[in-house]
């Protein structure tokens, strides 16, 4: 708060406008990478990192309080755990449908390939959730130090 006027982020109009206009593309690209993961390279981990990068950028430009107003820390903490549960739950679901652990093919009894597709999608969703939340949480913890 004691920084000279020209150093304050509030005065950096170009950065503020550019960041805000780029943000939607961050999240869109994250989702693209996420859903591309079913067909080719890419997937939950990369998508999660890109998603978290969007939040980090917002936090850097507008301040950590603003970022935490959009995505509160408690959500992020829950997200870390829920992602693991989605991943593990997929495995439990495949066991429920008579397959081995994470045997995605069994998720759709009629069509093995559809089942595989579904399984990968759920697992990647879990990974997205945990990685995005984990990265954001690390950022919150470091940025929140000493406050």
């Amino acid at each position: 708060m004691n920084a000279p006027k020209h150093m304050r982020m509030r005065e950096k109009l170009i950065l503020r406008v550019a960041a805000k206009s780029l943000l939607p593309f961050f999240f869109l690209f994250a989702l693209y990478v996420q859903f591309h993961g079913d067909f080719g390279p890419g997937g939950g981990f990369q998508a999660g990192v890109i998603f978290a990068a969007g939040i980090v950028l917002y936090g850097l430009i507008y301040g950590i309080e603003a970022a935490q107003a959009v995505i509160p820390r408690i959500w992020v903490e829950i997200g870390v755990a829920v992602g693991v549960l989605i991943w593990g739950g997929t495995g439990i679901a495949t066991m429920q449908s008579g397959g081995r652990y994470l045997e995605y093919g069994k998720l759709d009894p009629e069509h093995v390939v559809h089942g595989q597709h579904l399984g990968i999608m759920f697992v990647e969703l879990g990974v997205l959730c945990t990685v995005a939340s984990g990265m954001t949480l690390i950022f919150y913890l470091f940025a929140g130090r000493g406050r």
Binding site: E77, I78, V80, A81, V82, V84, L85, G88, G89, G91, I92, M95, G99, R100, Y101, L102, E103, Y104, G105, K106
Partner: protein
Amino acid sequence: MFGSLSMWSDWASSLTTLSEHFPVLVVVVPMLSAPLCFLSRNGRAARGISFFALLSCLLMVIHLLGRVLDEGVVSYRLGGWPPPLGIEYRYDQINAFVALIVAFIATVVVPFGQNKKAFRVPAGRTNVIYAVYLLCTAGLLGMCVTGDLFNVYVFLEISSLSAYTLVAIGAERRAMMSAFSYLTMGTIGGLFFLIGIGMLYQMTGTLNIVDLSMRLYDVSSVRTLSVAFATLFVGVSIKLAVFPLHQWLPNAYTYAPPKVSAFLAATATKVAFYVMLRIIFTIFGRERSFEQMNLDRILLPLSIAAMFMGSIAAIYQTNIKRLLAFSSIAQIGYMTLGISLDSLTGLVGGIVHLFNHALMKGGLFLAVACILFRLGSVKIEDMRGIGRRMPWTMGAVVVLGLGLVGVPGTVGFVSKWYLVLGALEREMYTVAFLTLLSSLLAVIYVWRLVEVAWFSDPKPGIRMADVREAPLTMVVPVWALAAATIYFGIFTEHSAGVARLAAAQLFGGTP
């Protein structure tokens, strides 16, 4: 009446279906209970969840060990993909045995009385400790049961990262520093291990341990193989804290919360020892390891050095946790001695010592937790006269300490018996003599504890009047382990018996 009967049979049949999945559930249950603990946001609930998760894990491992002993190897294909393409969880005598130890110790430590002062965690966040603890257990169990070498590395990282966290939450600020040096050394160890895996994969194109061992038969003596062996060996040696690579261990065990020290001392190094056995005997094979690589020429002197250095250092410690940590280094020396003797009996001694030491060191560190709880100090000089104040706790320390010495009737005697026999079989009389001599050093450091606790007057300035016996929730687990050291010291069919089968299987080289 009829309805309840059919319900019972439904339940029984669903349990039979479920038992097919036990091999994977052993890892999945603790791993998925971890996020549940995290979400519960309540220390008490998290403790309940972890206890029941680990108890079910223990029962499943017992069931699996029984199946392995009756039917032979139990294999589970993850995702339904057949090995070596897919990941396989593979239970045989040795890893089911090690998994049993891990699950048992992990279960015993959870209900052990909680001492809030021992953890530097904000109030109301103790559930996080249990989440990390469950992850660490899941990682250790995963390392045991997986049949895929890269999977071993992944679980190694899961368990190590959570172990660093568990050490770092110790009450003293130095816990952070020791966790950091543990992290540094552990990461270097993990890195070496990964490099070794990479080389093996490059040579054979497979990561499945059984497949790998078969394909390595065809690989004639190439330099890459020696380098891969060396890097894997060094990587695991760091994790196991083999003598010159043990620097991280004393501080990590000293500054970690005592419950954590008990858990790590009894499980983490044991699993590392198991991985070392796998590398030496299953992947590379006894012949290659000992006859081509001359492993015994390195491991034997290091083991003997560890036995002496660890015990001598333990004698000079002023902090009981540090004393136990140095004693652990000596005990790891006995385990690796079992490998380096290159004889079946010696190997039985090494494996059975893995089990015995887990009981003894787990019990001793839990007893230290009792002392810290009542006395508020772990310095040996502050413990003067404590034997009369906490007779049950200190009684357990004496029993467990006698085990470390190797007095007949305790588990320590069983392991040393096999080790000495193994040395005599190979006609290494000096080694047998040195094994016995190093036990005398253990007498000295155990006697120090006994003398301070029972034969000294309280130190002036320490108010012994406030010190009384630890609560039942703490004393019962300690005595459970102390009783186990006597039970398995007399009836050895379930410890040494299984160890013998495991050793025979490893030694025979059959994957």
